[in-house]
Amino acid sequence: MDALLIILFPLLAFLLIGLFGRRLGDLPSAIIAVLGSALSFIFSIPALLKALNSPFSVKLYDFISLGSYTLTLGLYFDPLSAITTSLVCFISTLVFIYSIGYMENLFGQWTYKFYAYLSLFLFSMLLIVLSDNLLGMFFGWEGVGLASYLLIGYFHQQKYATNSAFEAFVMNRIGDWLFLFGIFSIFYLFGSLNLLEIFSKVKEIDPNLLGLAVLLLFGGAVGKSGQFPLHTWLPNAMAGPTPVSALLHSSTMVAAGVYMVARLYPVFESAPQSLKVVALIGGITALFASLAATSHTDIKKIIAFSTMSQLGLMFLALGIGDKSSAMFHLTTHAFFKALLFLSAGSIIHAFHHHARNIYEVGGLKKHMPITYATFFVGALALAGIFPFAGFWSKDLIIASSYEASFGLGVFVSFVSFLTAYYIFREGFVMFYGPERHKEHFEEEPHEAPSVMLVPMVVLAIGSAVVGFFEGWYMSALKDHKEIHLEIAISSVVIALLGIGLAYLVFVKRVLDPEKLYQSLKPVHTTFKEQFFTEKLYHKGFAKGYMKLSRGLFLVGERFLIDGFINLLNFLYFRVVKFLWIKLDIYTVDLFVNSIAKFSFRFGRKVSLIQTGLLNNYVAFLLFGLVVLLGIIIYFMG
């Protein structure tokens, strides 16, 4: 029963805030949201402990019974789901607390909606993680998509935000469509949507068909996690408030795709070709996202690309068969990515939400020391420097990729080089160098309030120490990893190289970034435009679709239908007129008119009888008498 409460707390929070938020007010709603998340976290710990040894299921509800199969809702706790649950709840609680400080200048403007959406998101995310069948997972899938739409477009007066929300939702939808077809095929193949049943039957199914089903499911993951080709929404999703970016689009929601693949890993493993596709897409995304991150200048977008890239690495790891390192990287990534976003949010908040570009700020080291520290902790973790968490998880991935093939290992190393470069580029530009903010803003930057700082510090500590839990994590997932020393050292060296490059260029000004930028403009632009995929999608697909619709409208509606109706109209009139002439004028009118004329003439003639002359009338009497006589004689005789 306690297990049920884990899911129920955020749901209750959502309902309470949603229904009574107006009356409760913004701050109480925020506290309710925080409480909902915190209580979920607290209750997830005992479930976790229990699940580590013996996975258990909690059956919730028989949904619809369709003859031979019943759709149910239920929860399944095994090490994977339990650890992820605790992770999600923990990060959520911290981000919720942070958001109280971040959104405080918006309190009084119905900010309780924000917390309602956040609680809804948390509930749906937990549903994805904990559900024991694909249907519940799909419910949660849709729920997080909805929450993401609502939260990205939270500043709904800005056109950019609403467009981004729409784009996110549409791309998610495409992914969901594929996911749904995946579910259909799974049901068709297995006859059941329950995970345990699927796992037990997975060996019996033809690998090719299974591969097809699995690829469809992976399509959903592509949409949800912002991988190529459904990636353009993720950078634009930064239009939402920073807590949203920190929670949804870095650590939890986008991780749902990775989680789903990991969850259904037995199925993926049975169709090896699908894993190749997974790895391929992950690799492509990792590379081009990091390239894009090197050329962007928006504070949050760089971090968003970083997310995309790291997720690509996770998919790559999954693709080469290493589920546990992918999941471990997910866990550590949640910590330091959320941390990076919160730090970035702190900077944005310091300038009262005006700061956008890294070149608009500078030299913040002495103004915001704690933010500086947390940011660099996160950056170091991301780059994979010992002893921070990222080192441990990334090292595992690099090791697995070297095992798979040397080329792959080099590839991943190159990506991590780029990763270190771009994140430190951002850090150096923002915290070192001249204080550019004086030209752009009038506010003096100040350190964030403690309600924001405490979560950041907690996350920083987490980013630092979580790596040491690797051993425990691996054993929980029934896996065992060794540390390959040579790979560890080489990856650290590569990362340091990246940091060094960034340091040289942006701090020491060995190479002038401006001149470099000008000379490499085409390259730079290609990276920035994400290899023109965004342009392609927006202008090509979206606008093309609109043009097609309009064209169809013109042809279909105006030309065909309207033309048809007008033609009918015309013909109808013609026919009616013809009929009118024939029937009405020639026959009916003729008939009626002639009757009238005839009776008129006849009447005129007959009226001559009416002479008025008495004598004539008597004559008529006589005539009548004669007629009567005739009749009498006739009948008498």
Binding site: T611, L613, L614, N615, V618
Partner: protein
């Protein structure tokens, strides 16, 4: 043929002559005279039937016809006088207002 039967024929003849007179006469007064002819014809017929059958009812009826004829003459001539006073003429062709 008995005498009475001949008289009946005479009466029919009288009646139809009276009718003929009504039809052809222009002057109103002469028209009324023809009406009297008709009545007389009826009287003759009644009386001859009376003779034939052998009762007196026919004569009684003829008596009444006589009375009414007198009354009717009075009225008719009064009408003619009134018409003349109104119109100034007494032709039946002039009193054709019914036509319109």
């Amino acid at each position: 043929m008995k005498i009475e039967v001949a008289y009946i024929l005479i009466s029919i003849f009288l009646f139809l002559s009276g009718l003929f007179g009504v039809i052809i006469r222009k002057n109103l007064i002469t028209l009324l005279v023809s009406t009297e002819l008709m009545l007389n014809g009826v009287n003759v017929g009644l009386v001859s039937m009376d003779k034939m059958v052998g009762g007196v009812e026919g004569q009684v009826f003829a008596f009444f016809v006589l009375t009414v004829a007198a009354a009717e003459v009075a009225i008719g001539l009064g009408l003619v006088v009134a018409i003349f006073r109104l119109r100034g003429y007494e032709g039946s062709s002039e009193i054709t207002q019914l036509r319109d």
